[in-house]
Point group: C2
Chain length 237, copies 2
């Protein structure tokens, strides 16, 4: 089975406890997270959707899902204290509730509402092939490396550089095994869920995203996202 | 002396010969390039401004400069057939018309109208110190490297990765000497003007740009830029 794993924040401390976390802000006529969930709901490649939110936002999320996109396919669970823990919670939930060897989870930022059907489909297909995927776009700007933050140490070959987006997809069983084998120190270093695969020299297939598959994390992003929503038809030129 | 070097396109072939090149499109009440020139015009760090445009756009540029921001400081010259050649044309113009050993050129994309006074000032100061500068922002996304375009080959340490913007600043004399020493093959590889410094193990100082110091190259960017223009006061959050 193939699962959507919607990452809607860990403990929520970064957002502040009183403010409405960004994933719940309105984009057009629906909360951002609803736009995102809907893309997974209409995907023929996805069987069930696990939405991980901070514990104190579970009932709120249940309410808005009920209101905007009620479906038996949607499971709302508690996230972890960081991104990788949240992915692990989703994987454990899948392992406990859906017994199967070859489950795939397509993890995606709740605040990237412009993910496309093609991107989700490519994630599932390439994850079957490689075992893991990362969604990327070709680097728009020249990428520059600086070890000390004062002078350039390298300018890598631009055509080999990509900017990471989500989804990132994994075979659930392997993801759990690999992450349970990590030491506490390794866990702190591996801020990106794909990095453990790269370090263990396991393949991570590239899915090509879209420049407009943007992350909505600031008030300004939200303005851009509203502009996007109204202009998606003529974004290319 | 310190020069602004406004890079407004090479031969113009990429834009098509009949269409108005992007740098001349209106942003608010003025063409994009005028916004950019004005930032250099009001900078106390900049003495003279060299604007390099395609040969067939020289008189048009003279007309709009006359109309919007007439100044004896502005010199309009012909660009080259690529970015580096355009920078070289600017450097040669400075060498021939302003005799001095320590001239600095702050080269900047005409289509980045949101460059700030602070960024220009930092470029001049750090260029005096290091001999060359590159304006960058910390990488917003995880940067991923792929040698074959199919699977990830590395995920570099995110905190050491930056996205290049402009200005890029150089000591004029050294820039000319270095570029004249390059072979034709080297010139084709060195798509980024700073890369020759890195290869020769000469320091390039980092100037920190701004996320909103964006490049306006598509119709959609222009919409964002207009949004920016109206919202610069509350872009941070």
């Amino acid at each position: 089975m193939n699962f959507g794993g919607i990452l809607a924040g860990g403990s929520g401390t970064r957002m502040g406890k009183t403010d409405l976390p960004k994933q719940f802000l309105m984009l057009g006529e629906k909360p951002i997270i609803i736009h995102t969930i809907e893309q997974f709901l209409i995907s023929a490649s996805i069987d069930e959707i696990i939405v991980a939110v901070p514990q104190n936002w579970i009932s709120y999320t249940q309410d808005i899902v009920e209101k905007y996109c009620k479906s038996d396919k949607i499971h709302i669970i508690q996230g972890g204290s960081n991104r990788n823990e949240t992915i692990m919670n989703i994987c454990y939930y899948i392992k406990e509730n859906f017994k199967e060897e070859e489950n795939i989870v397509v993890t995606h930022d709740a605040v990237r509402p412009f993910v496309t059907q093609r991107i989700i489909k490519d994630n599932v297909e390439l994850c079957k092939k490689y075992g893991a995927t990362d969604t990327v776009i070709s680097a728009i700007d020249t990428i520059v490396e600086s070890e000390n933050g004062n002078v350039i140490s390298a300018i890598p070959v631009r055509s080999q550089m990509y900017q990471g987006q989500t989804p990132q997809s994994f075979k659930v069983k392997e993801f759990i095994e690999q992450n349970e084998a990590l030491t506490k120190e390794e866990k702190e270093i591996l801020t990106d869920a794909c990095k453990v695969y790269v370090l263990k020299q396991k393949p991570v297939g590239l899915v090509f995203g879209e420049e407009y598959n943007m992350k909505v994390t600031t008030k300004y992003d939200l303005k851009l996202a509203n502009l996007m929503l109204n202009n998606l038809s003529d974004k290319e030129d």
